[in-house]
């Protein structure tokens, strides 16, 4: 405990609490003047490593110096061509000039090295850390200051289509692991000075770069501050993925519902930034984390907005239905079969009874058995390699399903119900939200087995009450439905035409609400020619159509 407290007090320093604490003991003292001592000290700390590369040379043939770096992390070409070459081989414009020792560092940084990221530092701890991040450090004999140059080169994969969030209409790019590429993907879509990226380092060992991205003037400042506060309170050894952060910053860790949204898509991230949310990126994770979230955005996709209004609305309705199915369908089935068969039309009730004739278990046990085996099957198909996965799903679904019915383990209708439920849960675009409902299905099923429809109702009320009491960074989880927000409501059940939504959703309390420009655009008015349906303003929304997206800035 005392260790942590000590760290908190000098939090301003770059945190470095390596297990061996070899560096800590030395502290952030300036390096000594002698080159030999400096090299010795570096060797003491990193000497065991095969990839420590120390190259001694003479600057301008005059001053003894050494370049120190970890060869596995750096771009050798850059080191050789842009750094060592101009240092060893005196450049044209410096020939004949005097190069005194006290001005040497300045001379090198400003006039010699061909690299934009050449900087000067003197702290030993800092230099070692930079070296571990892929920079090359140049020690010069007789000078306390050292020059460090960013020569980092990390292998990364190319930008590919996001695996988990496929769309038919819309951009195909997905985030990759490298944070600089990810920020570039965002900047490319948001060429505005309002787009702010704040970074911090989290993780005592991994020292992962965490970037907080938001649009100044749109995002609520208190939310941004809250995000920074919660992130800065994290004290952990490793942040390997954005999911680690999620667990530290969410409001209610014991809730089954996700209170942040992670997405692989830059376009979705940008769309959320523009609505006033804050995105968190972590180096090494191909996901961005969006806060604050509300429940309804878990069944929205970017495709809803890029497709036409009717299309988007229809698909969204289907998705909501699937969501409801995946939560209550099996429990409704159980309660209808075992408590209220009189609700079913007679012919169907007879068919159900006939199907269940050979099944020895009560409906709830039967459904639970099939559900559990379905969960196992689903988990297995995720883990299996692609080549085997297809085969397994055929064996699992077709063969086992058929055999279970024939063996009298379950009735054919149960299999149909479970299949519909499973498909329904796949239709929810966000994996985490689908997972929450997947889990909650089981308690409701058990309640249905005990109390019938009354049990289902109690379970559903319980879940809704819990959701209504949740908050994500100060925003009620069920907004804009309750608390009500007329602007936000237009985007909940159907996806209203874009010109119906001139304001940003109010529940996020954005600093600036105007999404559409004022009525000074004539583009759509010109398009009206010959279309008498839109002739006058009272006739369906043409008054609001005058948006223009050409030269208005984002505010």
């Amino acid at each position: 405990m005392s260790l942590f407290r000590k760290k908190k007090r000098n939090v301003k320093k770059p945190q470095l609490l390596t297990p061996s604490k070899a560096l800590e003991k030395k502290g952030d003292t300036p390096t000594s003047i002698s080159l030999m001592v400096k090299i010795k000290e570096v060797k003491e700390l990193l000497g065991n490593n095969e990839d420590l590369q120390i190259k001694e040379f003479k600057i301008f043939g005059q001053y003894p110096a050494a370049s120190v770096c970890l060869s596995s992390l750096i771009n050798q070409d850059v080191l050789n061509q842009d750094i060592l070459k101009p240092l060893m081989y005196v450049p044209e414009h410096l020939k004949g000039k005097e190069k005194p020792l006290n001005e040497l560092v300045h001379l090198i940084v400003t006039e010699t090295v061909y690299h934009s990221q050449a900087k000067v530092a003197e702290g030993k701890e800092q230099l070692i850390e930079l070296m571990l991040r892929g920079e090359s450090v140049i020690f010069i004999d007789g000078i306390k200051d050292s020059i460090h140059i960013d020569t980092r080169k990390i292998e990364k994969r190319s930008i590919a289509q996001p695996e988990t969030e496929q769309v038919i209409l819309g951009p195909r790019e997905g985030f990759i692991e490298s944070i600089s590429t990810n920020i570039a993907l965002l900047r490319y879509r948001l060429p505005t000075p309002d787009f702010q990226v704040k970074t911090m380092k989290i993780g005592r060992l991994t020292k992962s770069t965490v970037a907080i991205c938001y649009l100044k003037g749109i995002a609520n400042e208190t939310v941004v501050k809250e995000v920074e506060k919660r992130l800065s309170e994290i004290n952990i050894d490793a942040i390997l993925d954005v999911g680690y952060l999620e667990q530290f910053i969410e409001d209610n860790p014991f809730s089954p519902f996700p209170q942040t949204q992670s997405t692989e898509r830059p376009d979705k991230t940008v769309a959320n930034l523009i609505e006033g949310r804050v995105a968190i990126l972590v180096d090494g994770s191909p996901f961005s984390l969006l806060v604050p979230v509300v429940f309804n955005q878990f069944y929205q996709t970017t495709e809803d907005y890029s497709s036409r209004f009717l299309m988007g609305s229809f698909v969204r309705l289907a998705r909501i239905l699937a969501l409801v199915f995946s939560l209550v369908f099996p429990s409704l089935y159980v309660s209808l079969i075992s408590f209220n068969p009189e609700l079913l039309p007679t012919e169907f009730a007879v068919a159900v009874a006939g199907g269940r004739a050979g099944v020895p278990y009560p409906a709830v046990i039967e459904v639970l058995i099939i559900e559990v085996s379905m969960e196992i099957l689903r988990e297995a198909t995720v883990r299996l390699p692609k080549q085997v996965g297809g085969a397994l799903s055929i064996v699992g679904v077709l063969v086992i399903g058929q055999a279970a019915v024939e063996a009298g383990l379950s009735s054919p209708i149960t299999v149909v119900v479970i299949a519909l439920t499973t498909i329904g849960s796949f239709a929810t675009p966000t994996y985490t939200a689908a997972f929450a409902l997947r889990m909650l299905r089981f308690p409701i099923m058990i309640l249905a087995g005990i109390f019938g429809l009354y049990g289902v109702m109690v379970g559903v009320i319980f879940i809704f009450n819990h959701m209504l009491s949740l908050k994500s960074f100060g925003v009620p989880y069920m907004a804009p439905v309750s608390p009500e927000d007329s602007q936000g409501m237009k985007d909940v059940v159907i996806r209203s035409p874009l010109w119906w939504m001139p304001k940003r959703p109010e529940f996020l309390r954005p600093s600036n609400q105007n999404r559409l420009g004022l009525n000074d655009n004539k583009v759509l008015e010109h398009n009206k020619v010959g279309n008498d349906q839109r002739e006058d303003a009272a006739n369906g929304g043409s008054k609001g159509d005058h948006n223009y997206s050409s030269d208005n800035d984002l505010n």
């Binding site: 408590f339 209220n340 009189e342 609700l343 079913l344 039309p345 007679t346 109390f451 019938g452 429809l453 009354y454 289902v456 109702m457 109690v458 009320i461 319980f462 809704f464 009450n465 209504l468 009491s469 009620p476 069920m478 439905v481 309750s482 608390p483 009500e484």
Partner: protein, 370 residues
């Protein structure tokens, strides 16, 4: 009291609607018909007016004291100790109201759906649900009400709409004076007793964004819930006729039973109706439960109401188990309901008059020296 004042006027309205519409939906036509025969709708209407009067008095009182609930401002108006004694009466009354609602609900479920499940279990499940939900703050309380209102209104409207094809307008005549005046007056009291949940407005006003809109909220609240009640009475009486209704315990449930959805999707609607009705009961129970513990908190000047939520559950449960059977229960309900009007209408009216007198006297005193 650290919660931000965020309850909007719409939320206040929805809280009133969902609080008022509750267990009473089922026996309401029976109460009205017993009192007024064919003029049951008229009895209902007068009952609604009486309830509206009480609600407006409360809303007006609340607007005069926008920072306080009835528990705290009664101490300002009629003195600390007298105010506290009356507050204890109010709290006890709502405790009883909560338990009776739970019991009535349990009785319907046991008779209508789960015939083999013990009454105690259904009541306890419902009370647990309410007490766990009561641990939230008042903003979440309003979110919950706001969220459920459409789901409470929809099934009733659907049932009424689909059943009206069998209606017989003759059953509704004579509209006025279908029975003797005394009976109708008693019926009016019973009906307006069903609106006692609207007392909750006094708890909401201090948390409202703009407390001076409380009157508007209560007007819309009583208009929508009262309109729905009236609609139910008209539909049931027009379909079954007064004589038939007297034979049925829960005419509204019977109405749902006779309704068929076109297309034969479901053979019967009553079970679905009951299932959704669980929601209406929950919101009513939730309101009165919340009011009880919130008022207790204010009376004892506690910081937090969360702990009280589990603490009073055994009392509510015990009170709910007191009536011996359905008949006994409805006797008690009618009796308590009418007596309760003293607390929910007369007491606020009394407070308002004294408040007026005090402010009038203060004005006179201020005017004299200057």
């Amino acid at each position: 009291m650290g919660d931000p004042k965020e309850i909007t006027t719409i939320q206040a309205t929805t809280i009133l609607i969902s609080t008022i519409i509750g267990v009473g939906v089922l026996p309401l036509p029976l109460f009205a018909v017993r009192a007024g025969e064919t003029s049951a709708p008229f009895v209902t209407l007068t009952g609604i007016f009486l309830a509206a009067l009480g609600l407006f008095i409360l809303a007006y009182l609340g607007m005069r004291h926008p920072q306080k609930t009835i528990i705290t401002y009664s101490q300002d108006i009629i003195g600390k100790w007298l105010g506290r004694i009356f507050s204890i009466f109010v709290i006890c009354f709502f405790l009883v109201l909560t338990s009776l609602a739970a019991r009535e609900f349990g009785a319907v479920v046991v008779t209508g759906v789960l015939r083999e499940t013990p009454l105690e279990v259904t009541v306890i499940v419902m009370l647990l649900l309410a007490s766990i939900s009561c641990r939230n703050n008042i903003n979440v309380f309003s979110y919950i009400h706001n969220f459920y209102v459409p789901m409470i209104l929809a099934p009733v409207l659907i049932v009424v709409a689909f059943s009206l094809k069998n209606a017989n307008p003759l059953y509704l005549r004579p509209v006025f004076l279908g029975n003797d005046l005394r009976g109708m007056a008693a019926g009016m009291l019973t009906v307006s007793a069903l609106f006692q949940g609207s007392f909750i407005i006094t708890m909401i006003i201090p948390s409202m964004k703009s407390p001076n809109k409380a009157l508007k909220a209560s007007f819309w609240g009583i208009l929508i819930s009262g309109g729905l009640y009236l609609l139910i009475v008209i539909a049931t009486v027009a379909i079954f006729g007064p004589e038939e209704i007297k034979q049925i315990f829960w005419p509204t449930l019977e109405l749902a039973r006779t309704t068929a959805v076109p297309g034969n999707i479901l053979q019967r609607l009553d079970i679905i109706f009951l299932a959704v009705w669980v929601l209406a009961v929950f919101t009513t129970l939730f309101s009165s439960y919340y009011f009880t513990i919130h008022s207790l908190k204010e009376l004892f000047q506690l910081k937090d109401h969360k702990m009280l939520s589990y603490f009073i559950m055994p009392f509510v449960f015990f009170l709910a188990m007191l009536p011996q059977n359905i008949l006994h229960m409805y006797e008690i309900i009618q009796y308590i309901g009418r007596a309760g009007l003293l607390i929910t209408i007369m007491y606020p009216a009394f407070l308002l008059i004294i408040d007026f007198l005090r402010s009038w006297r203060r004005k006179k005193n201020v005017a004299k020296p200057t």
